[in-house]
Amino acid sequence: MSKTPPDLRRPGVSRRGFLQGSSVVAGSLGIAASAQAQAQGETEPDSAARTIRLNVNGTSRQLTVEPRTTLVEALRDTLGLTGTKIGCNQGQCGACTILMDGIRVNSCLTLAVMAEGVEIVTVEGLADPTGDLHPMQTAFSENDAFQCGYCTPGQILSAIACIDEGHAGDAAEIREYMSGNLCRCGAYPNIVAAIEQVRDSQQG
């Protein structure tokens, strides 16, 4: 079996289907595709765009991405969900923080093809359908926990996860466990206050 997957160049082929065909199980699709590739004298590997499904804010969305497309690019550029921000694009600032299966991650260092089958939550998915804000959004607004607002979507998702993880015990622990989210405007004290407010209201 060839170690280099054949070039399917065919939209609509899912990653798993492609995988099973090329390197794991010789499914009918893969055999047909490699025969086609061989007939054309092609050994070009499959780096072409493929269709994947992402579950974003409770809705399953179909989109076409290249293997190199990062998750934040897919969310912003393909799905139009521009609430998630790109700051450093290198894992250093946290502006791109989203939740994957409830866990906070930097979407700039995740490939979109690696996010299939995962429940993704972005800032657009926090308010309930009637438009009522998530308690963390309300607390950010009540505590003036932002100035320009660029870091805010990432801060809010990170803050929700920080409490869920049990890392919001006191102000020092909050600061340590929010250190993955930088704020150019220096709203840190008010961000800590917002998180304490939500933590206390959840306990009460």
């Binding site: 280099t4 190199r68 990170s158 600061r175």
Partner: protein, 332 residues
């Protein structure tokens, strides 16, 4: 980012085979890989995503051994109560690294194999970098800034520092890694996994093409229970070590029976300070002997202009970590 083919095998054997192909590279959490691919430092033709190998996610802390699957996440292991109780320095070396978001994705296997943060390695605008482009020279040694560089283990080809924290706890406590490659499985002492830069700094480990780290094992020793990881850095959180120490102590009354010291932020490969350990065995642990151990740990350092500050800082960190480990035993 240059495009690549992507596969996600669901068996270790298939993954090794795919990863052994020319131009293929393994990706686990991707926090090093995606970063370096974006900035053009790495340009693999094929990415083999091993994150689907769920057998490699588990870990267990037994009474005589601890075993960690290569795909266990940094955050999960750092927060595990059994790990915190049995080997606090290991947990601390993980949670004092990177950020919560990164630790949620980053795997232990990827962590030990993370790449240097040398700014010239990371910036392709600099043509000279023997690690990135073998034979091209070294921008750091050729008049560059050397403040983030190694004071142990460098060569005239490369003085890049190994930046990881977790590895320092592993190297000082006799860890081993298990691997599976196209040629079968093997066990490698952790201290022999990384290789010094020598003439060819592009070779960083003894791993063969396609060889996958499957797990990390440590024998449980008494010094683990009284251990700490002290990390000095430019800011209080979310920064690489300027100098750090993973230290563990076993006392016999007032004298040191066993002591382990791993040093981060200072060496080309994970670094164990054996001479400093030796100076303490059979001695009382006082501020004076701790400071002396710190001095001995850096006796053989070979700093460059920019990295000379690491000697005094590192000696303080070693002494501080030893005293912290002792105070944790209630022996203050």
């Amino acid at each position: 980012m240059k495009n690549f083919t992507y596969s996600r095998p669901d068996a270790v054997g298939a993954a090794t085979e795919a990863a052994a192909a020319d131009g293929a590279t393994i990706i686990a959490g991707g926090t090093t890989m995606v970063d370096l691919m974006k900035i053009g430092v790495l340009e693999p033709d094929a990415l083999v995503d091993i994150s689907g190998l769920s057998d490699l996610e588990g870990f267990e802390v037994g009474s005589d051994r601890m075993r960690f699957g290569a795909l266990a996440k940094m955050s999960t292991v750092a927060d595990d109560q059994a790990v915190i109780d049995a080997f606090p320095a290991l947990s601390e070396s993980l949670w004092k690294a990177a950020s919560p978001q990164l630790r949620n994705v980053a795997t232990l296997g990827g962590n030990i194999l993370q790449r240097t943060r040398c700014p010239y390695f990371r910036d392709t605008a600099f043509a000279q970098c023997n690690k990135r482009a073998p034979g091209s020279g070294c921008a750091a040694l050729d008049g560059g800034h050397t403040n983030l560089h190694a004071i142990f283990g460098g060569s005239s080809s490369c003085v890049a520092m190994y930046p990881g924290d977790f590895a320092q706890a592993l190297v000082a406590f006799d860890a081993e890694v298990s691997t599976r490659g196209p040629g079968g499985t093997r066990t490698i002492p952790f201290a022999e996994l990384h290789v010094a830069p020598g003439d060819d700094p592009s070779v960083e480990t003894v791993l063969e093409p396609g060889e996958i780290v499957t797990g990390i094992t440590l024998p449980v020793i008494p010094a683990m229970a009284n251990s700490t990881y002290l990390k000095a850095r430019d800011r209080e959180s979310y920064a690489f070590a300027s100098a750090s120490a993973a230290v563990g102590l076993e006392m016999d009354g007032d004298t040191v029976r066993d002591v382990r010291i791993g040093l981060g932020g200072v060496a080309a490969t994970p670094h164990r300070a054996r001479a400093a350990e030796e100076s303490l065995r059979g001695q009382a642990l006082t501020e004076e002997t701790a400071r002396e151990a710190g001095r001995i740990a850096f006796e053989d350092a070979e700093p460059l202009d920019g990295s000379a500050y690491k000697i005094a800082l590192g000696a303080d960190v070693v002494a501080g970590a030893l005293l912290q480990a002792k105070s944790r035993m209630g022996g203050e």
